[in-house]
Amino acid sequence: MERIPILKMGPFLLVTIQIDLYDRLALTLENDLINMVSQTGARGVLIDISAVSIVDSFMGRILGNIASMSRIMDAETVVVGMQPAVAITLVELGLTLQGVHTALNVEKGMELLNTKLINNWEQDEEEEEDQDDRND
């Protein structure tokens, strides 16, 4: 059975979808990806869909699901390289992918994940400091 490879790059996971997703493949991807997040403790997931030209409501929901699941496991999701036609279709379907970050290309997506990581780290730091202050 076909599988979409998931690459680990530092604290991030990188998925490039090179073929049109059918339902079963999308479900497998969702499953694999979440398992991978929990195994590696990744802090960010980057999904490149620049080669996807056909999208339906199911596919849109899967993307939303991946984002929500990753959020629970403390990883941010960025979808990059969406084709104009795909964006128009998703909007017409009423799926605006709330909670999913988007970027124009992989480069900008990585940049976005990095800034998110740094921001989260700073927040954690502050919280810890607050706790330290209270302990003192």
């Binding site: 390289g81 969406m82 104009p84 964006a87 998703l90 988007t102």
Partner: protein
């Protein structure tokens, strides 16, 4: 006794001469749009085809096979005339002056046989009336094509996507936004975002006369699509009355960045991309000297 077709065939050159005379004496002759030689050639071609068709003794059904060439030629002529900018009267006069020429020739030829003449004139009238209907149909169709092309052109022209800065696009919308136009605007904008790799798009709606709930919905759709692509969208040029309508209609634009003017939208875009515009202080040297 000769048939109508034979009589007309015999007098072909005379008919052509009369027809040309009729056309040239019309007030509506447009020698600025078409030379007389061209007109002569066109008329001769037309008359040849018509006489060939008439020899089949068919005056009622112009959709019959023998009339194919006549109607084709006629359609050709009226389409070209519609495109060249002839008026309906000028185009109509072309066929109607042929009717006059044919009738005149028949009257001369059948001077001593009124009953045949009457029947022949009736036939010719029916035939040429039908032909003039074809002329008009085609003429109007030609004009409609022109209008359609212009409509397309206007909608193309009216949605330019401008690159105002590296990574910042602006799209001034002028005129009413309907579904078809929103589609074009959205496609143009998204394609341009991909082409230029821009992060920020500014939609300027100062040229939109009125915003109702449908237009607002179209705007929200465009913004969502831009966001899905990974770019930010700012709506600018919101006039006081538009702000009032939006609030009265209860449209929620709270998760969309809106600005009153294109300038302030550009300023926001600069701060989002960490750019800064500073005044170049020319008096710096002078200040240091003091």
């Amino acid at each position: 006794m000769n048939t109508t077709a034979q009589v007309l065939e015999k007098n072909k050159s005379r008919i052509l001469e009369k027809w040309m005379q009729n056309q040239l004496s019309e007030d509506s002759l447009r020698d600025d749009l078409m030379s007389n030689e061209e007109l002569q050639r066109q008329s001769k071609e037309m008359l040849d085809a018509l006489l060939r068709a008439i020899s089949k003794e068919n005056y009622d059904n112009i959709y019959a096979i023998e009339f194919e060439q006549v109607t084709d030629t006629l359609r050709d002529i009226s389409i070209t005339r519609a495109r060249q900018g002839f008026s309906p009267r000028e185009t109509g006069a072309y066929v109607l002056s042929l009717k006059k020429a044919l009738s005149e020739v028949l009257i001369e030829e059948r001077a001593n046989d009124p009953s045949t003449l009457y029947k022949e004139i009736m036939d010719i009238n029916t035939l040429l009336d039908n032909l003039s209907i074809v002329t008009f149909e085609t003429f109007i169709k030609g004009r409609e094509e022109v209008i359609l092309r212009q409509t397309d052109e206007i909608s193309e022209i009216s949605t330019p996507v401008i690159r105002v800065w590296d990574g910042i696009l602006a799209l001034p919308i002028i005129g009413t936004l309907d579904s078809a136009r929103t589609q074009i605007v959205m496609e143009n904008l998204l394609q341009e975002i991909v082409n230029t790799g821009s992060n920020i798009a500014i939609l300027d709606i100062s040229g939109v006369p009125a915003v109702d709930s449908l237009v607002a919905q179209h705007l929200i759709k465009t913004v969502s699509a831009t966001r899905l692509m990974g770019a930010e969208c700012i709506i600018s040029g919101i006039r006081a009355e538009i702000a009032q309508t939006i609030v009265h209609l209860g449209i929620d634009l709270s998760n969309i960045k809106t600005k009153a003017s294109l300038a302030s939208a550009l300023q926001l875009a600069f701060s989002m991309t960490n750019l800064e515009v500073r005044k170049n202080d020319k008096n710096k040297g002078f200040n240091i000297m003091r």
